[in-house]
Subunit: 108 residues, 2 copies
DNA sequence: TGAACATATGAACAGTTGCTCATATAACCA
DNA sequence: TGGTTATATGAGCAACTGTTCATATGTTCA
């Protein structure tokens, strides 16, 4: 079949960049949880502290902290201290783009 | 604090659209696995049958089938039969956009 | 029809995930 | 300094995921 060379080229490209796809999957895995997407989406609108996030998500402060740690480890959010509070915000605008991208797919 | 009204607006918007975020998370969950992203990315280049995918991913035909079922259930791929083979292809171009979007974030 | 090939499906299982509970760390203020 | 508030962290656990193995379904062709 004449499709074979095309397929083997694709195979080559994907096998060579296997780690890249691993990384890509790990990025999407972070967006693959409703709590986290909500947090990220909220942060596209305004920076917020932990207790504010905890309140509007109606989940435990502990749960929020755990999620925020994941987001911070992945460098999607950054923090600064303000008195007793820790204020979370997005590190860059890619998050917004990615969310928009997904939203566009859903709105079909 | 003057941030309060902003936060409560965001809270409202997110609480109202809770199901939307659930849907969004479910979409990203699908992209959150290396095997699936590789399959999807391969399909942006060319339609392929199960055995071809199985070959270049180096995973069982069964595993591929299971993953393809997830992709099909989510309407990301469609199928047609060609003799003994089932040919898989993307249902639309959103997949490509979403992958590109994530890749752009990684390439920083 | 029956053997060979291609794909789908169900059960089982190890690994992962996201939550809660209890507790630790840290800053503020009386 | 001690009490209060804000956040972080670790253990434990139930639910979920992705794979493999065994097997079923479906198509082709001699």
């Amino acid at each position: 079949m004449e499709n074979e060379s095309v397929v083997s080229k694709i195979q080559g490209a994907i096998t060579r960049n296997s780690e890249l796809f691993e990384e890509l999957a790990n990025l999407y895995k972070i967006f693959g949880d409703a709590s986290r997407v909500k947090i990220l989406c909220a942060l596209t609108q305004s920076e917020m502290c932990v207790s504010e996030i905890s309140e509007f998500l109606s989940i435990t402060q502990s749960a929020v902290s755990h999620q925020l740690r994941i987001l911070k480890t992945s460098n999607l959010v950054k923090t600064r201290r303000n008195g007793k509070s820790i204020i979370y915000s997005l590190t860059d605008d890619h998050v917004r783009t990615i969310i928009d991208c997904g939203m566009e797919h859903i709105a079909e």
